[in-house]
Amino acid sequence: MTGVARYAAERNLPGCLYAWPVPATVPRGRVAAIRTADALALPGVHAVLTHENAPRTREPDDPILAVLQNDRVPHRGWQVALVVADTLEGARAGAEALDITYETAAHDAVLTADHDGLYTPETANGGYPAVRERGDVDRAFAAAPVQVDATYTIGPLHNHPMEPHATTALWSQDGRLTLYDSSQGATKVRDSLATVFGLRPDQVTVVSQHVGGGFGSKGTPRPQAVLAAMAALHTGRPVELAMPRRHMAAVVGHRAPTVQRVRLGASSDGTLTSVAHEISTHTSTVKEFVEQAAVPARVMYGSAHSRTVHRVAALDVPSPSWMRAPGEAPGMYALESAMDELASALGLDPVELRLRNDPAAEPDSGKPFSSRNLAACLRDGAARFGWNDRDPRPAVRREGPLLLGTGVAAATYPVYAAASHASAHAAPDGSYRIAVNATDIGTGARTVLAQIAAHVLETPVENVTVDIGDSDLPDAPLAGGSSGTASWGWSVHKAATALVERLGESSGPLPAAGVTVTADTTDETAEESPHARHAFGAHFAEVAVDSRTGEVRVRRMLGVFAAGHILNSRTGRSQFIGGMTMGLGMALTESSSLDPVFGDFTESDLASYHVPACADVTGLEAYWIDEDDPHLNPMGSKGIGEIGIVGAAAALGNAFHHATGVRLRTLPLAPDRVLSALR
C-alpha cells in the first residue's frame, strides 16, 4: 500500500470549492421558505443552491437525481439545499446558517405485513415478473403430509462502503463536464448526467479510477454527482462534494425491509410438492424499487406447484436500492431457513433434503441448467466441515453457558453479462495495453482483466497494462450484478483475440503507432441462452450462543461455491470471504431501524451501524468447485461478487436453531431478541 491512489474527493483541483448538502429535517411535506442571506453573508460562502435558483435539469432516468427541482420533501434527509464555499468548514457553516421552514404533512415510515398501501407491482428489481404461478399451490400445500408455514422478517440494511459517495465536478469553457465520481460504473454515470444536463454523452467525462467500495450503493449515479455538477456550473469553479457519513443513509439507497412468508409442502420422503414464497417490502414515494426476494425460489428446488409473489408499499422513506445480492440475499435467508424447518419436520438431514430436491431443469422456466453443482457444493462442504457426523438433535451441546450448533444453507446467484466495449493495443516494444471502462471497487478488476488479456495474447501478465475507470475509454457496464468480470472480460477477450489475429496477418516490425483493435460484445451478450445460468453454493456454519447474554458468535463458517471457472484464486477467495462476512453481519450484527417519529434511520454512523469487527470474523473458509461450463462466456466464468452473502444468514440462523432449539425468524440475532427467545 503506497497511498498514491486518488479517490474522487482527492483531486485537489486548482480553485476548487467545497459543497455541503442540506438534508430535509421533516419526514414529509414541502419547503415553505429558505432564507439564505445569513449564509451568503458568511466569509467564503460562494453560493447557496435551492430549488429556487438551482439549474433546471432535464428529467433523469432515475427520479432520485431530480434534486433541487421543486419544493417537495418526499422523506427526511432528501436534499433541499447545497452550500458552496472556499472550504468544507465554510460550506458547513453556511448550511447551519440557513433558515428553512417547512410545511409538514402526516407521514408513514413503517412497513407492516398487512400495510394498507401494499400493492402488486408489474415487476421487481431486475425486471423479473412480480408474480409467477405454476400449478395449484393452495391445493397442493393443503394436501401435503408435511408442511412448513413460516414468516421471516429482515429490517433495512445499509451498504456503508468505507469511501463515502463523493464527486468532484468541473465544467470547461466549451461546456464540457468532467466528474471525478466514486461510482461502480462511469459509463452509466456519464449517460445519466448527460441526460440530466441536456448534453451529448461525448460532452461528459466521468472518472472513477479508484473506488473504496460500493456494494451496490454506487451502482447507479447518486445525487451528489448532480449536485456537484450543478454547483460547478453555478459558480464556474470546480466543486468537490464528499457525502458526510451521517447523511448517507437517506440518499444512497438501502436494502429494503422484507416480510417473507414461505410455505413448503412435502411428501413424507422429503420431495417438495409445493413452494410458495410471498414477500412484502417498502419503496419510497420517489420511485418504485422492489427487492426481488421471491425470485430465487423460482430457481432453487423442483416442485410441481409454485407461487412467488412480491408486494410493495410506497412509504415516506428514503429510496431503497441495490445492496449486495438484492433479492437473493434476503430471499434465500427465508427460503433456506424454511428448508431447514422442513428438514426438522421431516426428521431428515438438511443436506439430504436439498439433494432430494435438486432439479434437473430450472423449475420456473423449464430450461436446462448450463451447469448446476449445488449437490457437489453440499457434499464437498459437508465433508470439509465434518457435517456427516453431526448429531441432528437441537439444544444438546453445551460448553458452560454456551449452546453450540451447526447449520447449512444453499446459495445461488444468477449469471449476468452485459454488452461491453474494449480495445487492445500492441506497441512496437512488445507490450500491450487494454482499455475498457471497467471499475475496480476493490475486487481486483485490473488484475483479472490483465490476466484474461495475457492469456489470449500468450504473454506474461506484467506485459499488459490495463486502463479502466474513465468514461473516455471504451464503454462498459457497471460493476454490479456480479457481472463485471464476465462483461468486461468478454470484450477484453474478444479484443485481444482480434489483436492476435491482426498481428498474425502481417509480419515484420509494427508501425511506430502500434496496432489497436476494438471489440464490442453487444451481439454475443444479447443472445438468448437456451440454458438457465446460475452460480450455486453451500454454507456451513457453527455458532456459539451465550444463553446468559444472548450473544451469538461464529466459531467457523465454511462456504463452497460453484461459479464457473475461477479466474484468480486470491481475489476470488477475497470476494467469497467478503460476501460471507457481510452475510454474518446481516445475520448477527447489522441493523438500520426506521424511526417512526422522525422517518429516518437511527443508525447513521459506523459506531452504531455494526458491521462485523475483525473479532467477529474468525474461522471463515471459502472453497470452490471449478466448473467447465461452455455456455457462459469465453472465460467460462460466473460472477462471484455476491454469492458469498447469499444463504450465509440462513446457515447461521439454522445453526442458532440447532444450538438452542429455538427458531428466531427475525434478523439480526442480537442479544435483545435472543434473550427474549431463550427465556
Binding site: 438534508p23 422522525f598 437511527t602 459506531a607 455494526h610 469487527a613 435483545d672
Partner: protein
C-alpha cells in the same frame, strides 16, 4: 466555520486559569469523543485547552498500597500496566472491553470519565434532546431506546453513560481528584456522575473550569478478586448493552466484601448498594447472588424495547459473582 482557539497548557494551573478566563473553553485529552462532538455540532468550544501533554501520564503506587493514575494516562497504557493487571483486573478488563485499539491508544483516563452519551438523539442536532438543549424534549422515550437506560432515568432523559472504565472504577471505590479555580477537591467516582433528574444537561458534578488531574484507587485487602463482564452487539468495538464490574472477598464461605457496579443501564455507572447490602455477611452462593441482584434490579423501569437489559444485567452480575467465588 466555527473558529476555535487552541492552547497547549504548560501546567494544570495554567489550564484551569485559561479555562476560567474563556467561558465555553474545553479541555482536550485524546479528543476521541470531544472532537467527534465538535464535528457533529453538539460541542462548539471557543477554546480547546490541550491538557494531553501535561505531566499527568504516570501510574504510581500510593503509600497505602493503592494506585494513583494520572488523568492523561492513555487507556491502552493503563490496561497494560502490571499493577492494574495484577491488583485491579476488573479495571484492565473494562478498559480492554472498550472501543478499539486505536481509540484506546489515544483516549485518556480523564477524558474517558467525561465522555458523553451515545444516545442517537443527543448526537443529532436536528432533533430535540433535553441533555443537549434543555427543555426541547426527549424523543428517545417513545423512539429508539433499545440501548438506553432502564434504571435511574427520568422523564427528561433516558441516556446511558457509555464508559466501561468508569464502571470498574465505581466498583473499586476509586476517587477522582479535581483541580479548579477554588483549589483541589476529591469526589468518589460513584458520586462523580449524576442521574439526569430534571437537569440532564449535566453529566457529572464537575464544576466549570475544574479539571480531572488524577484518579486514585484505594488498596484492596488480601484475597479480594475482581472482574468485568460486558455484553455487546458484536465481539469488539461496541458499547455495552449491559456490563458489570464485580469485586468480591469471601472468607470461609461468607462474603466479607462485595462491590457491584453496572454499566449500560443508567446515566451513570450504577453502583449496586442494595445488592451489596444483601450480600455482606451472607453465605457465598448462587441463590444469594440472585436474590441480591434481583433486589437491586427491582428498581429498574425498562422502556418498551429495552427490558432485555434487566435480564442481561442479572445474568452478568450473578455469573460474575459466581466466577469470582471459585477464585476467592
Amino acid at each position: 466555520m466555527k473558529p476555535f482557539a487552541y492552547l497547549r497548557a504548560a501546567s494544570v494551573a495554567e489550564a484551569v486559569r485559561e479555562s476560567a478566563a474563556r467561558p465555553g473553553a474545553r479541555f482536550l485529552g485524546g479528543g476521541t469523543n470531544l472532537v467527534d462532538l465538535m464535528k457533529l455540532g453538539v460541542e462548539s468550544p471557543g477554546l480547546l485547552i490541550d491538557v494531553s501533554r501535561l505531566p499527568l501520564d504516570r501510574v504510581t503506587d500510593t503509600a497505602d498500597g493503592g494506585l494513583r493514575i494520572g488523568a492523561t494516562v492513555r487507556n491502552s497504557d493503563l490496561a497494560a500496566h502490571p499493577a492494574v493487571r495484577t491488583r485491579y483486573p476488573a479495571l484492565s478488563q473494562a478498559l480492554l472491553a472498550g472501543a478499539s485499539g486505536q481509540l484506546r491508544n489515544t483516549a485518556t483516563t480523564g477524558g474517558n470519565l467525561l465522555q458523553r452519551t451515545r444516545c442517537p438523539y443527543f448526537q443529532d442536532t436536528s432533533k430535540p434532546c433535553n441533555k443537549r438543549e434543555p427543555g426541547s424534549g426527549c424523543p428517545a422515550r417513545e423512539g429508539a431506546h433499545r440501548d438506553l437506560a432502564v434504571i435511574g432515568h427520568s422523564t427528561e432523559c433516558v441516556a446511558t453513560h457509555p464508559s466501561d472504565m468508569a464502571v470498574a472504577l465505581a466498583a473499586l471505590d476509586a476517587v477522582v481528584l479535581l483541580y479548579g479555580p477554588d483549589g483541589e477537591r476529591t469526589v468518589a467516582v460513584t458520586e462523580f456522575h449524576r442521574l439526569p433528574g430534571d437537569d440532564p444537561s449535566a453529566d457529572t458534578v464537575i464544576r466549570p473550569d475544574e479539571m480531572i488531574t488524577e484518579v486514585v484507587l484505594p488498596p484492596l485487602p488480601e484475597g479480594t478478586v475482581s472482574l468485568y463482564r460486558k455484553a455487546r452487539d458484536r465481539a469488539s468495538f461496541a458499547f455495552a448493552l449491559a456490563s458489570v464490574a464485580a469485586v468480591l472477598r469471601v472468607r470461609e464461605g461468607r462474603i466479607e466484601h462485595a462491590a457491584l457496579a453496572f454499566g449500560g443501564l443508567a446515566h451513570r455507572p450504577w453502583r449496586a448498594r442494595t445488592a451489596e447490602e444483601a450480600l455482606r455477611g451472607a453465605p457465598a452462593g448462587d441463590a444469594v447472588y440472585l436474590s441480591a441482584v434481583d433486589a437491586e434490579l427491582a428498581a429498574a423501569r425498562p422502556l418498551r424495547d429495552n427490558a432485555f437489559k434487566v435480564t442481561l444485567a442479572r445474568h452478568l452480575a450473578v455469573d460474575a459473582l459466581a466466577a469470582l467465588t471459585t477464585r476467592a
